[in-house]
Symmetry: C2
Subunit: 550 residues, 2 copies
C-alpha cells in the first residue's frame, strides 16, 4: 500500500492498536510513549530500521499518538517520550531510507517530521500538554531533534550516552528537522559551541551537555526512573490549560481512486493530464450544537472536516507529486460555518478550544504545502465563510465570479479576527494587508454587516480578481493552465517567499531557511551524488567531495 | 585578468575614469548615475551585454560609484539612477552569462549584487544619501530589483514601459537579488498581487503599477525630466545626516600571487594543498589622529585596513572557491585599535561616522562569507582588540592560547558595545550571548578594566577554546584539518543557520531564505539542466520540465 515515493498510496491514519514502533501507555495525568522501532517493518522494503532509527511509518505513528492524546486523553498533562532499548534513545532518521529516496520524498518526509515536532511544541504552548524527552542512551540526529522539540530533555549520565548531530560530519547534510534552529534560537546554545557540537560526530555527554545547554539535566542510571517520574509530575503540575471532554477520533474512511480522494466533507479531484486538482470543502449540512454533538460521540463538522482536509493535504503532497496547481472551492448554505466558528470561539469547553487549535494547525499545513493554490468562488452555493474564508486568504490568488444578483461572495466571522495565525504569527488578513493594516479592521467591520459580494470583495482587496460571466471562465482557465506550465521548483521558492511576509519565527525559520538550505544540500553531489556521503554511508568507500564553497 | 569562475583574478577596484558601463555626473547635491552598458565589454568573453543587461563587471562599477559618492562626494544627498537608452532602463542580469556560469559563480555573483543593493539602502538609512530610480523604459528582473533598492521609483507612463519579474515564467528561477523579499516586505505589495506580478512575464505598467505599489509614481514623457529633477531635489532636501569632509579612495595596491594576497594592513595567505588560508589583519602601527590624517589626504587605518579586508574577502569568495577553511589572526601593539575606535565613536566628523558605517558593512560581508572562520590568538602580539575583536566574535570558533604570563588575550572597546550590528540587528556580543544577555554587560564592564587573558576569556564565553602550550598547536591543527575535510555544502547551510541567531530582517531574509531557495533552484534540472529554461533561453527549443513538486 504505502509507497516511499508516492507512486502508490500512503496511509496517514493509524491507531495505537496498530502501532508497530511505539508503545503508548497512560498513568493518571502522564502518558508514556516508548519508542521501540520494529526494524522489520519499515515504510517500504529495502532497509531495516535498526537502533531505533525512524522513517515515515514511525513518524506517522508518533503524529497519531500526539493527536490522540490531545483529543482522546484530555486528562494527560505530561507526555514522556522514551525508548525501549537500553543503550539507544533514537539514532535519528534512517540513513539507508534517505539514501534510497527521491529528492521529492526526502523534502516531503522532512516537512512532515518538522510539522510533527512543531505539534509537540504547539501542544505544550496551547493545549496543556507538556513533553519530556527521557534519553537513556544514544540520542543522535533526528533523535536529538525530537528531544529538542520537547519542553525538557533528560540525558542519562553513564559515561557513554551522548546527544549528537552527526549529519554534517558523517552524511554531508544538515540536521534538517529543526535541529540547527532550535539549538541556537530555542535553547539558545552559544553559537560557537553549537558549531563545535554540530561537527563532532560522537556528540557531547554528561556534565558538558548540561553546561552547554544541550540538555536540561543529566541523571545517573540509579536515579533515572525516579527522576524521570518526578520531572514528569512537575511538568504535569505546571499545565494550566484544560482539555476535554474526550472525543474519539474515528477512521476517516477516505474513498480513493486514480481520479479522486473523497471524504464526507472534503474532495480532492484530479485532472492528471493537466496536472491540476480541485480541492472542495463542504460546509456543515445543518446547524450543529458543538457540545451536544461531541457528547454523543460524533465528531462535529469543525473537527471532522479539518481532519479530512489535513489527510487530503498529506496525500496530495506525498502521493501526487505531479499535481502542481490546485483550485480550492467551498460549498454550502450560508450561516452554518459562521455559527460553528462562533460556537467554538465562545464555548467554555476545552474540546472546542482544542478543535480551534487543530484547525489552526491544518491551515498552517495548507500554507506550507508546496502547490499553487487558487481559491475560486464561481457558484451561488460557494461558501467562503469564516474559517473556510481562511482557505481563500491563504491561497496564492482568489478568483471570484461577479454574478448579477450578488449571490456569490464571502463572509467573515470571528474565525478571521486573529486566532488563525500563520507560522509568522500574523493572521491571514494581517498578512494580506501587511502594507495597509487599517484595511483589516475595515473588513472585519464590513463583515459583521453580512456577506460581501465579489465585486466589493475585490475592491476591499479580499479577492484578487473578480470577473463577470463573459470573462470569468476563460480568465480562470488560462490562469490555471499558465500556472501549471511553470517550473515547479521556481514556483515553490517564489511562493515560500511571497506567502510568509512579515515577522519570522522559529517555525518560519525552520520551513523557510533551514529547509531551503537542506533542500539545496540534498541536491548536491557531495551528499547524494554517486560518491556522496549520504549515498556511501555504511559502505567501505569514502565519499569524494567537490570542494568549491558556495 | 578577470575570470568568470574565479580561475583567474577578479579585480574589484575601479574608478569612474575607467567605467565602461556607467556615467557618473554631479550637480550640486545631486549625483546622476546613468546606466549605459557597453555590450562589447562583458566581464568575460562569451556573451554580449545587450539592452542594459548586467554582469559582474557592471555591478563592480555600480558598487564603486556608490562607495565613492559616499566618501569622495559628501555634498551629494540624492543619487538618481537612470539609463542612457530611451526604451530600456535595465533588463536585469545577463541571462547568457548566468547560463555560462558555474553554480559557484552564480551564487557568489548574486551575493555580491545583493550586497551592493543593500549598500544603497544603507547609504539612505545611515549616510544621508537618498536614491531615486528613474525608469524610462523596460525595467525587468534585476533592473527592477535595483529600483526596489532605491528609496523611490519613478516609471515613465508611455503605454509601453513596464516593471517586471520574468524570471519564474521565462527562466524557471527566482528574482534572486532581493526582489521577492522587497516586493512584499519592503514595498508591502499585497501577496496575491505579488503572485500575479511575478508570473506575468510582460510585467505591469502605468497606473496599475502605481496602484499596486510597484512604483511610487508614473510620469508622462513630457513631464519626465522635470519630475525626476523635482523628486531628486525633494529627496536631497529630506536628508539629515551630514557626511564629509571628502576623502579620496586610493588604489589598494594588492600584491597577488598564488600563495598570497597582500595589502598594507591585511594578508591572506593560502595553503592550497590543505585548502586552507590564514587571514591576518594588522593594527595601526602608531597612534593616529583620525581627522588630521584624513585632512592630509591619507586614508586613516580605520578606513584603509577595512577597505583591504573587504577586497580580500571578495577575492577569497570569487577567486579561491576551493579554500573552505580560514584561520583569522590579528597583530599589533595594544591600545592603538582601541584609540581608533574611540576617536571614530566620539568624533563629530561626518567622515568618522561614514568610516564606522563602512566598517560595519565589511564585518557583515565577513559574516556572510561562506567559509569557515576560526579566529586564533596564539601569539603575544595578537591583537583582538575593539573592532578587530569583532572578527573573533563573528568567527565560527575562537581558539586562544593560554600563555604563562597572560600576554595573549583580547580587549574590548566602544566598538563592541552595539554599533557593529550583524544583519540580524544584533551586535556580535548580543548574538553570542543570545541565551544570556546579562553576559554582554558583564563583558563590556570587565573590558573597561583592561585586557582579558585567554583563560578568563574562555570562562567569560568570548573564547571557544583556550588551551595551554602543550595542547594548543595540536588541537588547532586537528580542528582545522577536520573542518577542511567536511562537505562545503553542508558547512555553508550549517553556518548560515548558526551564525544568524535571533531576529530576522530584510537582510537576513534575503541572504538566509531567498538566496537559499535560489541556490536550490539553480541546482535543479528545470533551470540549469540540459533542457532547463535558463539553459535554453534564446534558443528555439522549449524547456522540458520535471513536474514533481517539492
Amino acid at each position: 500500500m504505502a509507497g516511499i515515493d508516492g507512486v502508490t498510496r500512503t496511509d496517514f491514519e493509524t491507531h495505537p492498536s496498530k502501532y508497530k514502533h511505539w508503545k503508548l501507555s497512560f498513568d493518571g495525568d502522564t502518558a508514556k510513549l516508548v519508542m521501540a522501532v520494529d526494524d522489520e517493518h519499515p515504510h517500504k522494503p529495502g532497509y531495516e530500521l535498526k537502533l531505533n532509527s525512524y522513517d515515515l511509518s514511525v513518524d506517522i505513528e508518533l503524529a497519531d499518538a500526539i493527536q490522540r492524546i490531545r483529543f482522546e486523553h484530555p486528562e494527560v498533562k505530561a507526555l514522556v517520550i522514551t525508548a525501549e532499548l537500553d543503550r539507544v534513545f533514537c539514532s535519528g532518521a534512517n540513513i539507508y531510507m534517505l539514501g534510497l529516496s527521491t529528492h521529492s520524498f526526502k523534502v516531503n518526509f522532512c516537512k512532515f517530521t518538522n510539522e510533527t515536532r512543531l505539534y509537540l511544541e504547539d501542544a505544550s504552548a496551547n493545549s496543556g500538554l507538556g513533553s519530556l524527552a527521557a534519553c537513556k542512551g544514544t540520542t543522535a540526529g533526528g533523535g536529538y531533534e525530537l528531544a529538542l522539540a520537547c519542553d525538557e530533555t533528560l540525558l542519562v549520565d553513564d559515561g557513554n550516552s551522548a546527544v549528537s548531530f552527526p549529519e554534517t560530519p558523517l552524511l554531508a547534510v544538515l540536521p534538517g528537522t529543526g535541529g540547527l534552529t532550535r539549538l541556537v534560537d530555542k535553547r539558545k546554545v552559544r553559537r560557537d559551541r553549537a558549531d563545535v557540537f554540530c561537527t563532532t560526530a560522537e556528540g557531547i555527554k554528561g556534565k558538558r551537555a548540561k553546561e552547554w545547554g544541550l540538555v536540561d539535566d543529566v541523571v545517573s542510571r540509579t536515579k533515572w526512573d525516579e527522576m524521570v517520574l518526578a520531572r514528569a509530575k512537575a511538568l504535569a503540575a505546571k499545565q494550566s490549560v484544560t482539555r476535554g471532554p474526550a472525543i474519539e477520533l474515528k477512521p476517516l474512511g477516505a474513498k480513493i481512486n486514480d481520479d479522486a480522494i473523497k471524504y464526507a466533507n472534503v474532495e480532492l479531484t484530479f485532472d492528471r493530464a493537466a496536472r491540476t486538482a480541485n480541492l472542495l470543502v463542504r460546509a456543515p449540512e445543518w446547524p450543529e450544537d458543538f457540545d451536544k454533538v461531541a457528547a454523543s460521540g460524533t465528531e462535529p463538522w469543525a473537527l471532522r472536516a479539518f481532519r479530512e482536509l489535513d489527510d487530503a493535504l498529506l496525500r496530495l503532497r506525498f502521493d501526487n507529486p505531479d499535481i502542481g496547481m490546485v483550485t480550492v472551492r467551498t460549498k454550502g448554505s450560508p450561516g452554518l460555518v459562521k455559527a460553528c466558528d462562533e460556537q467554538l470561539a465562545s464555548s467554555k469547553s476545552g474540546l472546542a478550544r482544542e478543535v480551534r487549535v487543530f484547525q489552526r494547525r491544518v491551515l498552517k499545513r495548507y500554507d506550507n504545502t508546496a502547490r499553487s493554490f487558487y481559491a475560486v468562488a464561481d457558484s451561488a452555493d460557494s461558501c467562503f465563510e469564516g474559517v473556510l474564508l481562511e482557505l481563500a486568504l491563504g491561497a496564492d490568488r482568489f478568483y471570484t465570479l461577479m454574478d448579477g444578483d450578488e449571490k456569490i461572495g464571502m463572509t467573515t466571522s470571528v474565525a478571521n479576527e486573529g486566532f488563525f495565525t500563520m507560522s509568522s504569527g500574523l493572521s491571514r488578513l494581517a498578512a494580506r494587508f501587511y502594507g495597509d493594516p487599517s484595511q483589516v479592521a475595515k473588513i472585519i467591520a464590513r463583515g459583521t454587516e453580512g456577506p460581501i459580494p465579489s465585486e466589493e470583495a475585490e475592491k476591499l482587496g479580499i479577492a484578487t480578481i473578480a470577473a463577470d460571466d463573459i470573462d470569468f471562465e476563460d480568465e480562470l482557465r488560462i490562469a490555471v493552465e499558465e500556472r501549471a506550465s511553470l517550473s515547479p521548483d521556481a514556483l515553490t521558492g517564489m511562493e515560500q517567499s511571497l506567502r510568509f511576509v512579515g515577522p519570522e519565527t522559529l517555525e518560519t525559520k525552520i520551513f523557510g531557511r533551514l529547509s531551503a538550505w537542506q533542500n539545496w544540500i540534498f541536491t548536491r553531489a557531495n551528499s547524494t551524488g554517486e560518491h556522496g556521503a549520504l549515498t556511501l554511508y555504511g559502505q567501505p568507500e569514502r565519499p569524494q567531495f567537490q570542494w568549491k564553497r558556495t
